[in-house]
Symmetry: C2
Subunit: 192 residues, 2 copies
DNA sequence: CAAGTGTGTGAGTGCACACTTACAAACAAG
DNA sequence: CTTGTTTGTAAGTGTGCACTCACACACTTG
Protein backbone atom coordinates (compact mmCIF):
# COMPACT_ATOMS: atom_id res chain seq x y z
CA UNK A 1 0.00 0.00 0.00
CA UNK A 2 1.43 3.34 -0.95
CA UNK A 3 0.39 6.51 0.81
CA UNK A 4 1.00 9.67 -1.13
CA UNK A 5 1.81 12.66 0.99
CA UNK A 6 2.12 16.14 -0.44
CA UNK A 7 5.62 17.29 0.39
CA UNK A 8 5.29 20.61 -1.41
CA UNK A 9 5.91 22.66 1.67
CA UNK A 10 8.80 20.49 2.78
CA UNK A 11 11.03 19.55 -0.10
CA UNK A 12 10.22 22.62 -2.08
CA UNK A 13 9.41 22.27 -5.79
CA UNK A 14 10.29 18.59 -6.11
CA UNK A 15 6.70 17.59 -5.59
CA UNK A 16 5.78 18.87 -9.03
CA UNK A 17 7.72 16.12 -10.81
CA UNK A 18 6.24 13.60 -8.41
CA UNK A 19 2.74 14.89 -9.11
CA UNK A 20 3.42 14.58 -12.83
CA UNK A 21 4.48 10.99 -12.35
CA UNK A 22 1.15 10.22 -10.69
CA UNK A 23 -0.73 11.81 -13.57
CA UNK A 24 1.35 9.93 -16.11
CA UNK A 25 0.87 6.63 -14.28
CA UNK A 26 -2.92 7.01 -14.33
CA UNK A 27 -2.80 7.73 -18.03
CA UNK A 28 -0.43 4.82 -18.55
CA UNK A 29 -2.67 2.30 -16.79
CA UNK A 30 -5.60 3.30 -18.99
CA UNK A 31 -3.65 3.37 -22.21
CA UNK A 32 -1.76 0.11 -21.67
CA UNK A 33 -4.96 -1.56 -20.50
CA UNK A 34 -6.60 -0.87 -23.84
CA UNK A 35 -3.87 -1.71 -26.34
CA UNK A 36 -1.14 -3.45 -24.37
CA UNK A 37 2.55 -2.81 -23.98
CA UNK A 38 3.84 -3.19 -27.53
CA UNK A 39 0.89 -1.57 -29.33
CA UNK A 40 0.76 1.50 -27.12
CA UNK A 41 3.13 4.29 -28.21
CA UNK A 42 4.54 6.45 -25.46
CA UNK A 43 3.11 9.44 -27.33
CA UNK A 44 -0.38 8.16 -26.53
CA UNK A 45 0.35 8.07 -22.81
CA UNK A 46 2.01 11.48 -22.99
CA UNK A 47 -0.97 13.00 -24.80
CA UNK A 48 -3.40 11.52 -22.30
CA UNK A 49 -1.33 12.98 -19.47
CA UNK A 50 -1.15 16.34 -21.24
CA UNK A 51 2.64 16.50 -21.53
CA UNK A 52 5.23 15.86 -24.20
CA UNK A 53 6.65 12.46 -25.04
CA UNK A 54 10.16 13.64 -24.23
CA UNK A 55 9.21 14.51 -20.67
CA UNK A 56 7.71 11.08 -20.08
CA UNK A 57 11.09 9.64 -20.96
CA UNK A 58 12.69 11.93 -18.44
CA UNK A 59 10.22 10.97 -15.70
CA UNK A 60 10.61 7.24 -16.30
CA UNK A 61 13.49 5.10 -17.45
CA UNK A 62 12.20 4.10 -20.85
CA UNK A 63 8.89 2.61 -21.90
CA UNK A 64 9.53 -0.56 -19.88
CA UNK A 65 10.15 1.42 -16.71
CA UNK A 66 6.88 3.23 -17.27
CA UNK A 67 4.99 -0.02 -17.73
CA UNK A 68 6.47 -1.60 -14.62
CA UNK A 69 5.65 1.50 -12.56
CA UNK A 70 2.11 1.42 -13.94
CA UNK A 71 1.84 -2.21 -12.88
CA UNK A 72 2.78 -1.20 -9.35
CA UNK A 73 0.12 1.52 -9.34
CA UNK A 74 -2.44 -0.93 -10.71
CA UNK A 75 -1.90 -3.51 -7.99
CA UNK A 76 -1.78 -0.82 -5.32
CA UNK A 77 -5.25 0.30 -6.34
CA UNK A 78 -6.53 -3.27 -6.40
CA UNK A 79 -5.15 -4.01 -2.96
CA UNK A 80 -6.63 -0.80 -1.59
CA UNK A 81 -10.06 -1.63 -2.99
CA UNK A 82 -10.00 -5.14 -1.56
CA UNK A 83 -8.87 -3.81 1.78
CA UNK A 84 -11.72 -1.31 1.83
CA UNK A 85 -14.14 -4.05 0.79
CA UNK A 86 -13.08 -6.27 3.68
CA UNK A 87 -14.16 -3.56 6.10
CA UNK A 88 -17.68 -3.86 4.70
CA UNK A 89 -18.03 -7.56 5.45
CA UNK A 90 -21.28 -8.35 7.22
CA UNK A 91 -19.89 -11.26 9.22
CA UNK A 92 -16.49 -12.38 10.41
CA UNK A 93 -16.09 -15.80 8.81
CA UNK A 94 -13.38 -16.18 6.16
CA UNK A 95 -15.95 -16.85 3.46
CA UNK A 96 -17.96 -13.76 4.36
CA UNK A 97 -14.86 -11.59 4.22
CA UNK A 98 -13.81 -13.18 0.92
CA UNK A 99 -17.24 -12.48 -0.51
CA UNK A 100 -17.02 -8.85 0.57
CA UNK A 101 -13.59 -8.60 -1.02
CA UNK A 102 -14.89 -10.15 -4.22
CA UNK A 103 -17.78 -7.71 -4.34
CA UNK A 104 -15.41 -4.78 -3.87
CA UNK A 105 -13.13 -6.12 -6.59
CA UNK A 106 -16.05 -6.60 -8.97
CA UNK A 107 -17.13 -3.05 -8.35
CA UNK A 108 -13.62 -1.69 -8.81
CA UNK A 109 -13.09 -3.27 -12.19
CA UNK A 110 -16.32 -1.87 -13.58
CA UNK A 111 -14.24 0.63 -15.53
CA UNK A 112 -12.19 -2.28 -16.88
CA UNK A 113 -8.82 -0.52 -16.75
CA UNK A 114 -7.42 -2.44 -13.80
CA UNK A 115 -8.67 -5.76 -15.09
CA UNK A 116 -7.38 -5.29 -18.62
CA UNK A 117 -4.03 -4.04 -17.40
CA UNK A 118 -3.54 -7.30 -15.54
CA UNK A 119 -4.29 -9.21 -18.73
CA UNK A 120 -1.82 -7.09 -20.68
CA UNK A 121 0.84 -7.48 -18.02
CA UNK A 122 0.45 -11.26 -17.97
CA UNK A 123 0.86 -11.24 -21.75
CA UNK A 124 4.32 -9.67 -21.62
CA UNK A 125 5.80 -11.74 -18.82
CA UNK A 126 8.42 -12.90 -21.28
CA UNK A 127 10.08 -9.64 -20.19
CA UNK A 128 11.68 -10.52 -16.85
CA UNK A 129 11.00 -7.12 -15.25
CA UNK A 130 7.31 -7.47 -16.03
CA UNK A 131 7.19 -11.02 -14.71
CA UNK A 132 8.69 -9.83 -11.45
CA UNK A 133 6.22 -6.93 -11.24
CA UNK A 134 3.31 -9.33 -11.78
CA UNK A 135 4.61 -11.66 -9.09
CA UNK A 136 5.07 -8.74 -6.71
CA UNK A 137 1.54 -7.54 -7.42
CA UNK A 138 -0.08 -10.89 -6.78
CA UNK A 139 2.13 -11.44 -3.76
CA UNK A 140 0.80 -8.19 -2.32
CA UNK A 141 -2.83 -8.99 -3.04
CA UNK A 142 -2.75 -12.71 -2.23
CA UNK A 143 -0.96 -12.38 1.09
CA UNK A 144 -3.37 -9.66 2.12
CA UNK A 145 -6.38 -11.75 1.19
CA UNK A 146 -4.97 -14.76 2.99
CA UNK A 147 -4.10 -12.87 6.16
CA UNK A 148 -7.03 -10.48 6.36
CA UNK A 149 -9.73 -13.05 5.63
CA UNK A 150 -8.01 -15.84 7.52
CA UNK A 151 -8.90 -18.07 4.60
CA UNK A 152 -7.40 -21.47 3.95
CA UNK A 153 -5.47 -22.36 0.81
CA UNK A 154 -8.46 -23.75 -1.07
CA UNK A 155 -10.52 -20.64 -0.42
CA UNK A 156 -7.73 -18.33 -1.56
CA UNK A 157 -7.19 -20.44 -4.65
CA UNK A 158 -10.89 -20.33 -5.49
CA UNK A 159 -10.96 -16.57 -4.96
CA UNK A 160 -8.25 -16.04 -7.56
CA UNK A 161 -9.55 -18.68 -9.95
CA UNK A 162 -12.87 -16.89 -10.29
CA UNK A 163 -11.01 -13.59 -10.48
CA UNK A 164 -9.11 -14.89 -13.47
CA UNK A 165 -12.38 -16.11 -14.97
CA UNK A 166 -13.49 -12.47 -14.98
CA UNK A 167 -10.55 -11.70 -17.25
CA UNK A 168 -11.87 -14.14 -19.83
CA UNK A 169 -15.44 -12.88 -19.51
CA UNK A 170 -14.41 -9.27 -20.08
CA UNK A 171 -11.82 -9.77 -22.82
CA UNK A 172 -14.08 -12.09 -24.80
CA UNK A 173 -17.11 -9.91 -24.15
CA UNK A 174 -19.12 -12.89 -22.92
CA UNK A 175 -21.63 -10.67 -21.15
CA UNK A 176 -23.00 -9.77 -24.56
CA UNK A 177 -23.31 -13.43 -25.59
CA UNK A 178 -26.61 -15.06 -24.70
CA UNK A 179 -25.74 -18.61 -25.75
CA UNK A 180 -25.94 -21.34 -23.06
CA UNK A 181 -22.20 -21.88 -22.72
CA UNK A 182 -21.62 -18.16 -22.19
CA UNK A 183 -24.44 -17.95 -19.66
CA UNK A 184 -22.84 -20.80 -17.75
CA UNK A 185 -19.44 -19.07 -17.63
CA UNK A 186 -20.85 -15.71 -16.56
CA UNK A 187 -23.46 -17.01 -14.09
CA UNK A 188 -23.53 -15.00 -10.87
CA UNK A 189 -20.48 -12.96 -11.79
CA UNK A 190 -22.42 -9.67 -11.86
CA UNK A 191 -23.67 -7.83 -14.91
CA UNK A 192 -22.41 -4.25 -15.11
CA UNK B 1 -13.10 -30.18 -35.06
CA UNK B 2 -11.25 -30.05 -38.34
CA UNK B 3 -10.33 -33.18 -40.20
CA UNK B 4 -7.51 -32.77 -42.64
CA UNK B 5 -7.67 -35.07 -45.63
CA UNK B 6 -4.79 -35.37 -48.09
CA UNK B 7 -6.22 -34.47 -51.46
CA UNK B 8 -2.91 -34.75 -53.29
CA UNK B 9 -4.11 -37.38 -55.68
CA UNK B 10 -7.35 -35.59 -56.37
CA UNK B 11 -6.78 -31.87 -56.80
CA UNK B 12 -3.26 -32.20 -58.04
CA UNK B 13 -0.58 -29.84 -56.71
CA UNK B 14 -2.88 -27.68 -54.59
CA UNK B 15 -2.21 -29.78 -51.53
CA UNK B 16 1.33 -28.46 -51.33
CA UNK B 17 0.16 -24.97 -50.43
CA UNK B 18 -2.24 -26.45 -47.92
CA UNK B 19 0.54 -28.47 -46.34
CA UNK B 20 2.62 -25.31 -46.09
CA UNK B 21 -0.22 -23.58 -44.33
CA UNK B 22 -0.28 -26.31 -41.68
CA UNK B 23 3.45 -25.97 -41.15
CA UNK B 24 3.20 -22.20 -40.90
CA UNK B 25 0.31 -22.41 -38.45
CA UNK B 26 2.26 -24.67 -36.11
CA UNK B 27 5.17 -22.25 -36.21
CA UNK B 28 2.81 -19.32 -35.71
CA UNK B 29 1.19 -20.79 -32.60
CA UNK B 30 4.60 -21.30 -31.00
CA UNK B 31 5.98 -17.92 -31.99
CA UNK B 32 2.91 -15.89 -31.05
CA UNK B 33 2.62 -17.81 -27.77
CA UNK B 34 6.07 -16.66 -26.72
CA UNK B 35 6.05 -12.98 -27.69
CA UNK B 36 2.47 -12.12 -28.59
CA UNK B 37 0.89 -10.58 -31.63
CA UNK B 38 2.55 -7.17 -31.80
CA UNK B 39 6.03 -8.22 -30.69
CA UNK B 40 6.30 -11.16 -33.07
CA UNK B 41 7.56 -10.22 -36.55
CA UNK B 42 6.25 -12.29 -39.41
CA UNK B 43 9.87 -13.02 -40.32
CA UNK B 44 10.16 -15.02 -37.10
CA UNK B 45 7.21 -17.20 -38.02
CA UNK B 46 8.50 -17.59 -41.57
CA UNK B 47 11.95 -18.59 -40.37
CA UNK B 48 10.51 -21.13 -37.95
CA UNK B 49 8.44 -22.59 -40.80
CA UNK B 50 11.46 -22.65 -43.09
CA UNK B 51 10.08 -20.37 -45.80
CA UNK B 52 10.38 -16.73 -46.77
CA UNK B 53 8.39 -13.92 -45.20
CA UNK B 54 6.89 -13.01 -48.58
CA UNK B 55 5.37 -16.43 -49.01
CA UNK B 56 3.69 -16.28 -45.61
CA UNK B 57 1.95 -13.12 -46.79
CA UNK B 58 0.77 -14.98 -49.86
CA UNK B 59 -0.54 -17.93 -47.83
CA UNK B 60 -2.41 -15.73 -45.35
CA UNK B 61 -4.14 -12.40 -45.64
CA UNK B 62 -1.75 -10.27 -43.60
CA UNK B 63 -0.38 -10.78 -40.13
CA UNK B 64 -3.84 -10.53 -38.59
CA UNK B 65 -5.19 -13.26 -40.82
CA UNK B 66 -2.29 -15.46 -39.79
CA UNK B 67 -2.95 -14.83 -36.10
CA UNK B 68 -6.66 -15.57 -36.40
CA UNK B 69 -5.94 -18.78 -38.29
CA UNK B 70 -3.43 -19.76 -35.61
CA UNK B 71 -6.09 -19.16 -32.98
CA UNK B 72 -8.37 -21.58 -34.80
CA UNK B 73 -5.64 -24.20 -34.89
CA UNK B 74 -4.91 -23.63 -31.22
CA UNK B 75 -8.48 -24.20 -30.07
CA UNK B 76 -8.86 -27.17 -32.41
CA UNK B 77 -5.93 -28.84 -30.68
CA UNK B 78 -7.33 -28.04 -27.23
CA UNK B 79 -10.75 -29.41 -28.11
CA UNK B 80 -9.21 -32.56 -29.55
CA UNK B 81 -7.15 -33.15 -26.42
CA UNK B 82 -10.14 -32.67 -24.12
CA UNK B 83 -12.21 -34.97 -26.27
CA UNK B 84 -9.54 -37.65 -26.08
CA UNK B 85 -9.27 -37.13 -22.34
CA UNK B 86 -12.98 -37.66 -21.84
CA UNK B 87 -12.62 -41.12 -23.34
CA UNK B 88 -10.23 -42.00 -20.53
CA UNK B 89 -12.67 -41.16 -17.73
CA UNK B 90 -12.85 -43.93 -15.14
CA UNK B 91 -16.50 -43.35 -14.28
CA UNK B 92 -19.48 -41.81 -15.98
CA UNK B 93 -20.50 -39.03 -13.62
CA UNK B 94 -20.14 -35.45 -14.89
CA UNK B 95 -17.46 -34.68 -12.30
CA UNK B 96 -15.44 -37.76 -13.23
CA UNK B 97 -15.54 -36.82 -16.89
CA UNK B 98 -14.64 -33.21 -16.08
CA UNK B 99 -11.68 -34.41 -14.02
CA UNK B 100 -10.49 -36.57 -16.90
CA UNK B 101 -10.81 -33.62 -19.25
CA UNK B 102 -8.90 -31.43 -16.85
CA UNK B 103 -6.12 -33.98 -16.57
CA UNK B 104 -5.87 -34.20 -20.35
CA UNK B 105 -5.77 -30.42 -20.62
CA UNK B 106 -3.07 -30.16 -17.98
CA UNK B 107 -1.01 -32.70 -19.86
CA UNK B 108 -1.53 -30.96 -23.18
CA UNK B 109 -0.33 -27.60 -22.00
CA UNK B 110 2.88 -28.99 -20.58
CA UNK B 111 4.69 -27.48 -23.54
CA UNK B 112 3.01 -24.15 -22.72
CA UNK B 113 2.39 -23.10 -26.34
CA UNK B 114 -1.36 -23.59 -26.30
CA UNK B 115 -1.79 -21.98 -22.90
CA UNK B 116 0.34 -18.95 -23.68
CA UNK B 117 -1.32 -18.46 -27.03
CA UNK B 118 -4.68 -18.14 -25.29
CA UNK B 119 -3.21 -15.48 -23.00
CA UNK B 120 -1.79 -13.60 -25.97
CA UNK B 121 -5.06 -13.84 -27.87
CA UNK B 122 -7.04 -12.50 -24.91
CA UNK B 123 -4.62 -9.58 -24.74
CA UNK B 124 -5.39 -8.40 -28.26
CA UNK B 125 -9.16 -8.70 -28.16
CA UNK B 126 -9.33 -4.98 -28.85
CA UNK B 127 -8.98 -6.20 -32.44
CA UNK B 128 -12.52 -7.33 -33.35
CA UNK B 129 -11.40 -10.26 -35.50
CA UNK B 130 -9.38 -11.62 -32.60
CA UNK B 131 -12.23 -11.15 -30.14
CA UNK B 132 -14.49 -13.14 -32.45
CA UNK B 133 -11.88 -15.88 -32.82
CA UNK B 134 -11.52 -16.14 -29.04
CA UNK B 135 -15.28 -16.35 -28.61
CA UNK B 136 -15.49 -19.00 -31.30
CA UNK B 137 -12.72 -20.98 -29.64
CA UNK B 138 -14.31 -20.96 -26.20
CA UNK B 139 -17.70 -21.63 -27.73
CA UNK B 140 -16.26 -24.76 -29.32
CA UNK B 141 -14.55 -25.96 -26.15
CA UNK B 142 -17.24 -24.93 -23.65
CA UNK B 143 -20.17 -26.44 -25.54
CA UNK B 144 -18.24 -29.66 -25.94
CA UNK B 145 -17.40 -29.83 -22.23
CA UNK B 146 -20.98 -29.06 -21.30
CA UNK B 147 -22.49 -31.64 -23.66
CA UNK B 148 -19.96 -34.41 -23.36
CA UNK B 149 -19.68 -34.34 -19.56
CA UNK B 150 -23.33 -33.57 -19.00
CA UNK B 151 -22.18 -31.03 -16.43
CA UNK B 152 -24.32 -28.29 -14.95
CA UNK B 153 -23.54 -24.59 -15.26
CA UNK B 154 -21.66 -24.35 -11.97
CA UNK B 155 -19.42 -27.28 -12.85
CA UNK B 156 -18.59 -25.86 -16.26
CA UNK B 157 -17.89 -22.47 -14.75
CA UNK B 158 -15.57 -24.00 -12.17
CA UNK B 159 -13.79 -25.98 -14.86
CA UNK B 160 -12.94 -22.82 -16.79
CA UNK B 161 -12.18 -20.74 -13.70
CA UNK B 162 -9.44 -23.13 -12.66
CA UNK B 163 -8.30 -23.34 -16.27
CA UNK B 164 -7.82 -19.59 -16.28
CA UNK B 165 -5.99 -19.84 -12.97
CA UNK B 166 -3.44 -21.99 -14.79
CA UNK B 167 -2.77 -19.04 -17.09
CA UNK B 168 -1.77 -16.92 -14.12
CA UNK B 169 0.34 -19.67 -12.59
CA UNK B 170 2.29 -20.19 -15.79
CA UNK B 171 2.72 -16.58 -16.88
CA UNK B 172 3.82 -15.47 -13.42
CA UNK B 173 5.99 -18.55 -12.98
CA UNK B 174 4.37 -19.32 -9.62
CA UNK B 175 5.54 -22.91 -9.69
CA UNK B 176 9.02 -21.63 -8.96
CA UNK B 177 7.83 -19.54 -6.00
CA UNK B 178 7.81 -21.34 -2.68
CA UNK B 179 6.14 -18.63 -0.62
CA UNK B 180 2.85 -19.52 1.12
CA UNK B 181 0.59 -17.42 -1.10
CA UNK B 182 2.06 -19.03 -4.23
CA UNK B 183 1.71 -22.51 -2.75
CA UNK B 184 -1.94 -21.77 -2.07
CA UNK B 185 -2.58 -20.67 -5.66
CA UNK B 186 -0.79 -23.64 -7.21
CA UNK B 187 -2.05 -26.31 -4.79
CA UNK B 188 -3.12 -29.47 -6.58
CA UNK B 189 -2.70 -27.97 -10.02
CA UNK B 190 0.11 -30.35 -10.99
CA UNK B 191 3.82 -29.66 -11.02
CA UNK B 192 5.39 -30.30 -14.40
C1' DC C 1 21.59 40.65 -11.31
C1' DA C 2 24.03 36.34 -12.06
C1' DA C 3 24.31 31.52 -11.50
C1' DG C 4 22.23 27.32 -10.61
C1' DT C 5 18.52 23.92 -10.59
C1' DG C 6 14.27 21.80 -11.90
C1' DT C 7 10.50 21.58 -15.45
C1' DG C 8 9.33 21.21 -20.09
C1' DT C 9 9.51 20.79 -25.39
C1' DG C 10 10.47 20.64 -30.81
C1' DA C 11 12.94 18.63 -33.84
C1' DG C 12 15.44 15.18 -35.06
C1' DT C 13 17.69 10.01 -35.66
C1' DG C 14 17.87 5.43 -36.53
C1' DC C 15 15.82 1.14 -36.80
C1' DA C 16 12.37 -2.46 -37.00
C1' DC C 17 8.81 -4.29 -39.45
C1' DA C 18 4.32 -4.91 -42.33
C1' DC C 19 3.51 -5.34 -46.80
C1' DT C 20 4.57 -5.11 -52.12
C1' DT C 21 6.58 -6.05 -56.44
C1' DA C 22 9.28 -7.95 -59.86
C1' DC C 23 11.21 -11.92 -60.97
C1' DA C 24 12.53 -17.07 -61.24
C1' DA C 25 12.11 -22.02 -61.25
C1' DA C 26 9.19 -26.12 -61.54
C1' DC C 27 5.62 -28.45 -63.60
C1' DA C 28 1.43 -29.37 -66.57
C1' DA C 29 -1.37 -29.12 -70.75
C1' DG C 30 -1.88 -28.52 -75.60
C1' DC D 1 8.15 -25.92 -77.73
C1' DT D 2 5.01 -22.63 -76.00
C1' DT D 3 1.82 -21.04 -72.80
C1' DG D 4 -0.09 -20.95 -68.30
C1' DT D 5 -0.26 -22.00 -63.39
C1' DT D 6 1.71 -22.74 -58.86
C1' DT D 7 5.40 -22.41 -55.61
C1' DG D 8 8.80 -19.61 -53.99
C1' DT D 9 12.10 -15.55 -53.14
C1' DA D 10 15.25 -11.15 -53.00
C1' DA D 11 15.02 -6.69 -52.74
C1' DG D 12 12.75 -2.93 -51.95
C1' DT D 13 9.25 0.89 -49.72
C1' DG D 14 7.00 3.48 -46.44
C1' DT D 15 5.81 4.23 -41.96
C1' DG D 16 5.60 4.16 -36.99
C1' DC D 17 7.97 4.57 -32.96
C1' DA D 18 11.57 4.41 -29.03
C1' DC D 19 14.77 7.29 -27.62
C1' DT D 20 18.04 11.64 -27.74
C1' DC D 21 19.56 16.33 -27.67
C1' DA D 22 19.80 21.02 -27.89
C1' DC D 23 17.38 24.52 -26.19
C1' DA D 24 13.92 27.50 -23.38
C1' DC D 25 11.28 29.04 -19.52
C1' DA D 26 10.44 29.29 -14.39
C1' DC D 27 11.97 29.84 -9.98
C1' DT D 28 15.22 30.02 -6.18
C1' DT D 29 19.50 31.53 -3.86
C1' DG D 30 23.40 34.64 -2.89
Amino acid sequence: MTFLVCECTLTNMRSTAEARRITVLNAAVSAFARTGFHATPVTTVAAAAGISEAYVFRLFSGKLGLFVAAAGACFDRIAAAIEAGAEQATGGTPQEILDAMGAAYAELIADRDLLLFQVQAQAVTDIPEVAEAVRAGYRQVATFVQDRAGANDAQVQQFFAYGQLCHLIVTAGLEQVSEPWARALTAGIRHP
